[in-house]
Amino acid sequence: MATKESSIAAVAPPITWEEEEAALPTESLSQWQLAWRRLRRHRLAILGVFVLVFFIMVSALASVNIGSIRFGLAPYEFDAIDLNVSFSGPTPEHLFGTDQLGRDTLTRLLHAGRISLSVAGIATILSVIIGVIIGAVAGYVGGRAETILMRFTDIMLTLPVLPLLLIASKSLREMVALQQLFGQLLSVIVIIAVITIFGWMTVARLVYSSVLSLREREFMEATRALGASGKRLIFNHLVPNSLAPIIVATTLEFGAIVVYEATLSFLGFGIMPPTPSWGNMLTDVQRFVLRSPWMAFYPGMCIFLTVLAINFLGDGLRDALDPRLKI
C-alpha cells in the first residue's frame, strides 16, 4: 500500500494544456473564442480550411451565369465534345488533357467538384439534422420512444449498406414518376436521398449519449424548474451543449460522404453522365487505361485532397473544441 502511494506522489502528473492555459493571465474569453484561438494554432487544420475553400471557390466559379453576367474559370463547356483531340495529354489548349470524347478534363473537374461537393454538403446537413433530432428525442424523452428509436438506429447500423444502396439508387432512378418529376436532376436527388437514409446513425448515437449524460445535470433541472417546455429544453439547452461532438462528427461525416458519393458514382449507381462527378469520371478509366493513364489521376487527387483537408480540419476542431472527445 505504502509503495503505491509514494509512487503516485513521486511522479507528478503531466501538465495538460488546460492547466497551462489556466495558469496564464487571460482576458475573459467565451468558449467559442477560446476554441477559435486553439484552432488557429492548429496548422494542419488551417491548411485544410484553405484547401477546402479553394476547391469550393473554383468549382463554384466554374461557370457563372447570372443575367447578363457571364464568366467562368472553366475554359470549355462541360459537355463540349471534340473527337479530334480525344485522349489528349496536357497541352496549352487542354491543361489537364482530355477524355475519350475529347472533353476538357479541367472543365469537367471544376463542374464535377460543384456536383460532388454540393451533393456531399446537402447529404451531410440532412443526415446531421435527422441524427440530431432522433438522438436528442431518444435521449431526452426516454421510455418507449427511446427504446424504439435506438433499436431502430442499431438495426440500421447492422445493415449490409452497400448492396442496399445499390438497390435503392437503381430502383429509385428508374421510377417513371420520379423521372418526370425531377428530369435530369434525378440521379443527384436520388444519391442525396439514399446517402442520407443510410448516413444519420453515427450522429444519432453521438447526440443520444451526449444528451443522456447532460439530462441529469443541475442546469437542466433549473431550466425545467423555470417551466421550460420539452422542445425548448431539447433544442435550446441539450443540443447546444452537445454541439462540440456534433460539429466534429459533421466534418468527418462530410469527408466520408464525399468518398461514398465518389464510390457509388464510380460503380455507376450515383451521379449519371453526362453530369460529371469526381466519381463517375473514373468509371471508364479501366477501359481506357492503356490509352490514357492520366485520366485516373486528377479526379482521384481531387477526392483525396478534399477528404484529407476535411480530416485535418476535423482533427483540429476536435482538439480545439474538446480535446477529451474520442471520435
Partner: protein, 319 residues
C-alpha cells in the same frame, strides 16, 4: 449470457424480414421485368411463352403473395434458383463465399498483424520517425478512396510494370488449380484491402497503448521489478487489445460478405461482385439470398464481438 444471446438472435428475425421486405418492395417498384432480361437472347419468343414463363416463376401473382411465397421457401432454407444461370442460389453463394473468404481473410490477417505491431510500436516510440510514419500512413490510408487506390495500383503495377495481373482470380484459359497463379492474383486486391485495415488498426492500437501505459498498474508492474517485455506483453498489450475486439465485430461481418468495391475493381468473383451483378441483371432470387446471408453474417459478427468482449473483459456483463 445465454439469455442475452437468445434475445439478440430473436431480434435478428424482424431485422431480416424488414430488410428483405424493403429491398423486395424497392426492386419491384422499379419498372422492368426479369423475364425481359431472361429472354434477351431469344427475341423471337412468343407472348404466350412469356406469359407461361411469368406464371412458372410466380411473377404473375400479386406482389405481397410473391413475397410471402419467397419467405415461406426461405424459412425452409430454399433460396430458389437464379433467373440468369438457373442454378440454385445457395450453391452459387457457396462458391462465391469461398472466393470472398480467401480474399478478405487474408487481408484481415495481414492487416491485424501489421496494424497491431505498428500501432503498439509507434506508441512505445512516441515522437520518433517511426511513430510519425505510422501516423501519416494511418491518416492517408483512411482518407484515400480505396477504389481509386485500386485503380492506381492496376495502372502502376499491372499496366506499367506488368508485375501483377489486372484482375480475376486465375489466368484465363488456365486449366486446373495452380497455387502460384492464385496467389499472384490474390496479392493486388489483398494489398488494397489491407491498407485500410492497417491504417485503422494501427491508429487504434496506438491510442489504446498510449492510454494503457499511463495506468497505475503498469507503473506497479515496473516497480515490482518486472522486465519490460513481461510488462508489455503480460500487462499492457492484453489490456490494450480489449477495445479492438469491438472493432473486429465489423471486420468479421465483412469477412464473409466480401468487399463489393474492391471485388469490382479487380474483377474478383466473390459475393460483393455477385451482388453488384445481381442488381444490374435484376436477378431477384440471387439478390434476396445474398441480402439474407449478408445480414445474418453481420448480425452474427456483432454478436460474436459482444460475447468476446465479455469474455476478455470480465467487468462487462450483458444483461
Amino acid at each position: 449470457m445465454t439469455k442475452f444471446i437468445i434475445r439478440r438472435l430473436m431480434l435478428a428475425i424482424p431485422t431480416l424480414i424488414g430488410i428483405t421486405l424493403l429491398s423486395f418492395a424497392l426492386q419491384r417498384a422499379a419498372p422492368g421485368d426479369p423475364v425481359r432480361v431472361m429472354t434477351f437472347a431469344a427475341p423471337d419468343i412468343s407472348p404466350e411463352e412469356i406469359t407461361q414463363l411469368r406464371h412458372q416463376l410466380g411473377l404473375d401473382q400479386p406482389l405481397p403473395m410473391q413475397y410471402l411465397v419467397w419467405l415461406g421457401r426461405m424459412a425452409r432454407l430454399d433460396m430458389g434458383r437464379s433467373y440468369i444461370t438457373h442454378r440454385p442460389v445457395s450453391e452459387m453463394i457457396g462458391e462465391r463465399m469461398v472466393n470472398s473468404l480467401t480474399l478478405t481473410a487474408t487481408a484481415l490477417l495481414i492487416a491485424l498483424a501489421i496494424g497491431i505491431t505498428a500501432g503498439v510500436y509507434s506508441a512505445l516510440k512516441r515522437g520518433t520517425w517511426f511513430d510519425n510514419l505510422v501516423r501519416v500512413f494511418a491518416v492517408l490510408g483512411n482518407v484515400v478512396p480505396h477504389f481509386w487506390l485500386g485503380l492506381v495500383f492496376i495502372l502502376v503495377f499491372s499496366v506499367k510494370f506488368r508485375l501483377f495481373p489486372s484482375g480475376g482470380i486465375t489466368t484465363l484459359g488456365k486449366a486446373g488449380f495452380d497455387l502460384f497463379d492464385r496467389l499472384w492474383h490474390l496479392i493486388p486486391p489483398v494489398v488494397i484491402l489491407a491498407t485500410g485495415g492497417i491504417a485503422n488498426y494501427s491508429r487504434y492500437m496506438r491510442t489504446e497503448t498510449l492510454e494503457v501505459i499511463r495506468q497505475d498498474y503498469i507503473r506497479t508492474a515496473y516497480a515490482k521489478g518486472l522486465v519490460q517485455r513481461t510488462v508489455l506483453f503480460r500487462h499492457a498489450l492484453r489490456n490494450a487489445l480489449i477495445p479492438l475486439v469491438t472493432v473486429l465485430g465489423g471486420s468479421l461481418a465483412g469477412l464473409f460478405g466480401g468487399a463489393l468495391i474492391i471485388e469490382n475493381v479487380f474483377s474478383w468473383p466473390g459475393m460483393g461482385r455477385m451482388a453488384y451483378d445481381a442488381v444490374l441483371q435484376r436477378d431477384y432470387p440471387v439478390l434476396m439470398g445474398l441480402l439474407v446471408i449478408g445480414s445474418t453474417l453481420i448480425i452474427i459478427g456483432y454478436l460474436l464481438a459482444d460475447i468476446a468482449y465479455a469474455i476478455v473483459d470480465p467487468r462487462i456483463k450483458h444483461e
